[in-house]
């Protein structure tokens, strides 16, 4: 006779992964407050109580979705060691980010709404800090590539980091909120940036 309670071993990781996927979609569509554990459970095909078995609370679930999603994204957009120039590294980053937005829309949706959720829910302020750390690592790395290659010789590392942050995140959010890319926006931004860097 089947026992009640936690599903047996091998399935457990799979179930967890399914819950995280369904939760990402639910949070992305309805926001933290609007998300329902019952509909997440319904989409996975399990009882709501099973979700609490794995994730204790909605807050914990949100935190886990965040960790998984942001690690996946930032790992895939952080420039590889072999990138030689800032412009090349930025072009790669925009291309990767564009791919993620197309292939995994719920990843972009979820991450785009985090700053607002964190402002409204102070319990998530450490997620905002983790987000800042991910960003800093990536944008500082880009800034250093630009300084080492000599492309940027008129800004400090901090200033270059902020400039790159605003360019990349501005492009990401404008594209995200419009739900479509302004044609050639990435190319235009890079062309302009290249022109600015090469002036004088």
């Amino acid at each position: 006779m089947a026992k009640r309670g936690r599903p047996a071993g091998a399935n457990s990781e799979q179930t967890k992964a399914k819950i995280l996927n369904a939760a990402r979609l639910e949070f992305a569509d309805n926001g933290y407050d609007g998300a329902s554990i019952t509909s997440i459970a319904g989409n996975v095909g399990i009882a709501p109580s099973a979700i609490y078995h794995y994730f204790q609370s909605k807050e914990k679930l949100y935190t886990e979705v965040f960790k998984q999603t942001s690690t996946a994204i930032w790992d895939s957009v952080t420039p590889a060691e072999e990138a030689k120039t800032l412009l090349e590294a930025m072009a790669n980053l925009l291309e990767n980010s564009r791919k993620i937005a197309t292939d995994l829309p719920s990843f972009s949706d979820f991450l785009a709404s985090l700053p607002i959720e964190a402002r409204m829910h102070p319990e998530f302020s450490d997620l905002l800090q983790q987000r800042a750390d991910h960003q800093d690592r990536t944008f500082r790395r880009l800034a250093c590539i630009g300084i080492e290659s000599g492309e940027i010789d008129f800004l400090s590392e901090d200033e270059a980091t902020e400039l790159i942050r605003s360019i990349v995140m501005g492009w990401f959010f404008e594209r995200h909120f419009r739900q479509e890319e302004i044609p050639k926006s990435a190319e235009s931004i890079l062309a302009m940036f290249e022109h600015l860097l090469n002036s004088r």
Partner: protein, 199 residues
Amino acid sequence: MVESRSSGRPLATDSAVARVAFIKVARTHFAKFGYTGTAMTSVAQEAGYTPTALRHYFENKAELYAAVFAATSNEIYPQIVQHLHSPTMADAIEGSMGKMLQISKEFPEFIDFLYRTPSELYRHPELREKVEVRESFQEFFYSSLISLGRKTGELNELTDELQIMFFRTVMQGWIYEGIFSNDITLKTQIALVKLLERL
């Protein structure tokens, strides 16, 4: 002769007061709970009126949102636009960013409300037509900024389209990431001014 007032629409003076109260409370609710999380009844209650009174002014939540957006942007946009009269494009960028940062400290609920707008439009496309002024403001602001740069000779090569795209992206990116941070704002301002000085 003074008569006791009949029920129904309040007198004109009261009317303005109620409208202002509704907008003020609704701005905070939209900023805090989002469009979906805001309830007409809670807005009415906190403003000290009945839901019927609120519906007398704003037929539904979308109308209320439109009114809050109009009131908020009428307050903020002119303060930003002022800086387009700066002597140089670099000054205009520095001034408008500084102004937005200042407003975010003095009137956080205004900036919180506006900060959420793009994500509300994304989730509720039916609101788009109610806040068209946002898009036209941005177009006006960024194209005026580039014209200023051309006039002062700060910008000379490349097309307007490319320049507008670039500066719009950077400044909107700064709003999304840096408007709540002194440190980010200051460094971004310096970087942009240095970029312009090279041209």
